[in-house]
């Protein structure tokens, strides 16, 4: 679905953010992109939809060469790529519905969009994705009234309503608590499976990446230094990506977290059991 070949990006100040990156992602595959801060993760996904202009190399989405597009052609290509952001990047003063419908801007003219008179088919799509992400009750709320997890669901809905072929996901969980992070990652992975979407997910949390994605790519200083299954990500690979550190606990953390979660649920159950007789007495 997405083929990147020899992609390089050099910023005006001279530092090389991406250095000869080549990779291919088939439809339906969710790829976790890990690496230290400044390794070029964000630059890579922003090159794909040309929010950042690549210096050299080729990016093909299906049969379309993205790097040579301009104007209307670029806008048509962007319609096929849904983007999800770290700080949600919702238009805070617009309602949930307006934010979701903004995902259809590439398909409607200016006046229809300006007057909020979207075609009925677009409304149908918007309601369908809002139902999928579980926000039908919040359609008329303003985005800044929602919690972090709800906002990111709106972000996902906005990306899905574009009916894209690929999702570009930039640190979707960096502003969320651990439980919400898992729910959001699960939702992203599930919708990708349902719609056969390819996805690139930038992610800091290695353990979270291992839990959810099918393939992990490690970037270091703009170069791909690891490309393989989550299980293949061992101490040696993590050292290659991030440098020397005690990685034994990071790799085990997946099971640890699962155990912690189970323990927490048990604790809640015990508390409820204790609370009930007291509550009954109080009544």
């Amino acid at each position: 679905m997405l083929t990147i070949a020899g992609l390089s990006k050099r910023y005006a100040k001279g530092d090389k953010a991406l250095d000869d990156v080549s990779l291919g992602i088939p439809a339906g595959q969710v790829v976790g992109l890990i690496g230290p801060s400044g390794a070029g993760k964000s630059t890579l996904i922003r090159c794909v939809n040309r929010l950042v202009e690549p210096t050299s190399g080729s990016i093909r989405l299906g049969d379309t060469e993205i790097t040579r597009l301009g104007g209307a052609g670029l806008r048509r290509a962007r319609r096929r790529m849904g983007m999800i952001f770290q700080e949600y990047a919702l238009v805070e003063r617009l309602t949930v519905m307006e934010n979701v419908l903004s995902g259809r801007l590439g398909y409607v003219g200016f006046w229809r969009a300006f007057l909020r008179r979207f075609p009925q088919a677009d409304m149908d799509r918007a309601f369908a994705v809002l139902e999928r992400v579980g926000l039908l009750d919040h359609v008329d709320k303003r985005a800044d009234e929602l919690s972090g997890g709800q906002r990111q669901r709106v972000g996902i809905a906005r990306a899905l309503v574009q009916e894209p072929d690929i999702l570009l996901v930039d640190e979707p969980t960096a502003s969320l608590d651990p439980k919400t992070s898992r729910q959001i990652m699960r939702l992203i992975v599930e919708v990708c499976a349902e719609r056969q979407l390819a996805a690139i997910v930038n992610i800091h949390d290695v353990a979270l990446a291992q839990m959810f994605v099918q393939r992990i790519i490690g970037l270091k200083a703009g170069r791909v230094v690891f490309d393989g299954s989550p299980e293949a990500l061992d101490t040696a690979a993590l050292t290659a990506i991030y440098g020397e550190e005690d990685w034994s606990r990071t790799i085990r953390e997946v099971e640890d977290d699962a155990a912690e979660e189970a323990a927490a649920q048990d604790a809640v159950r015990v508390l409820r059991a204790q609370a009930t007789p007291a509550a009954a007495r109080a009544l």
Binding site: A77, R79, M81, F85, V91, L105, F110
Partner: protein, 272 residues
């Protein structure tokens, strides 16, 4: 630099280096010297006999100003209406003209930082550098006396004010939201309408109402130079030494300004 070693191996820290300390003291010294100098200049040309006389004079005028001449009030209604119209129409015209100027002046929306932006900034500075009353003087000469000159004067002065505050608001928006809209495949105009306009709406409304409030105050004096409104009555009353009328006019202006401040506070509160 401000860290110094003490004999027992401890370290001390000061906010400024010794040189910095001296520079600050010297700065204060200059400020005091300048104040003393200004005071001498100011008092040189003063005729002290008039100043010592001031309480008597003030009491005399005060006595002539009361009671206000209430019967004059009906004659003020039409000029007051003119004043409100000058302020409101002038503000509306300024809003229409300043919005495009602001978008051309903001660094993140201007089509060309090298050519268009300096031009837009010049329009803003030119408009701001000339007071409404000076604009009115010029316009009374060009358009003739009357309400129209007042409206245009208010509009010309307000373009700079609204334009400047609005373009600063545009430059302070969250680019992440704009980027997200652009990433959906939206066109430039759509990105403006969805990514930028919602973010600047509160600032825009607040600025416009604030300027309307200021313009009510400014339009009350435009009549002094013949540009219509209640200022015309103020001028003629002052010229004929009709102090009880002056009192009433000042009271009417005060009441109008209080009401306009109340309205603008309410509107701003409702929008934000």
């Amino acid at each position: 630099m401000p860290v110094t070693a003490l004999p027992e191996g401890l370290r001390s820290w000061q906010r400024r280096t010794p040189r910095g300390q001296i520079a600050v003291w010297f700065g204060w010294l200059l400020a005091v010297a300048f104040t003393v100098f200004c005071w001498r200049v100011m008092t040189q040309g003063t005729i002290w006999a008039f100043v010592w006389d001031a309480p008597t004079q003030a009491a005399d005028i005060g006595a002539r100003m009361v009671p206000p001449r209430w019967s004059y009030f009906p004659a003020l209604l039409k000029p007051l209406w003119d004043t409100l119209n000058i302020a409101t129409l002038g503000t509306l015209a300024a809003i229409v003209l300043s919005v495009p100027v602001a978008f051309l002046a903001a660094r993140n929306t201007t089509p060309s930082v090298a050519f268009v932006r300096p031009l837009a900034l010049f329009v803003i500075v030119a408009s701001r550098s000339i007071n409404s009353i000076i604009w009115a003087l010029l316009l009374v000469a060009i358009l003739g006396p009357g309400v129209l000159a007042g409206i245009v004067a208010i509009a010309l002065r307000s373009i700079g004010f609204i334009g400047k505050l609005l373009y600063e608001a545009i430059e302070e928006i969250d680019e992440g939201q704009v980027e997200a809209i652009r990433a959906t495949g939206a066109s430039g105009a759509q990105t403006l309408a969805y990514g930028i306009v919602p973010q600047i709406m509160p600032a825009f409304a607040g600025i416009s109402v604030f300027r309307w409030d200021i313009n009510i105050r400014e339009s009350t004096v435009l009549g002094l130079v013949g540009a219509g409104g209640i200022g015309l009555n103020l001028e003629s009353s002052l010229n004929t030494l009709a102090w009880p009328q002056v009192t009433l006019i000042l009271m009417v202006i005060l009441a109008t300004v209080v009401v306009s401040e109340w309205v603008s506070a309410k509107v701003r509160h409702a929008i934000i």
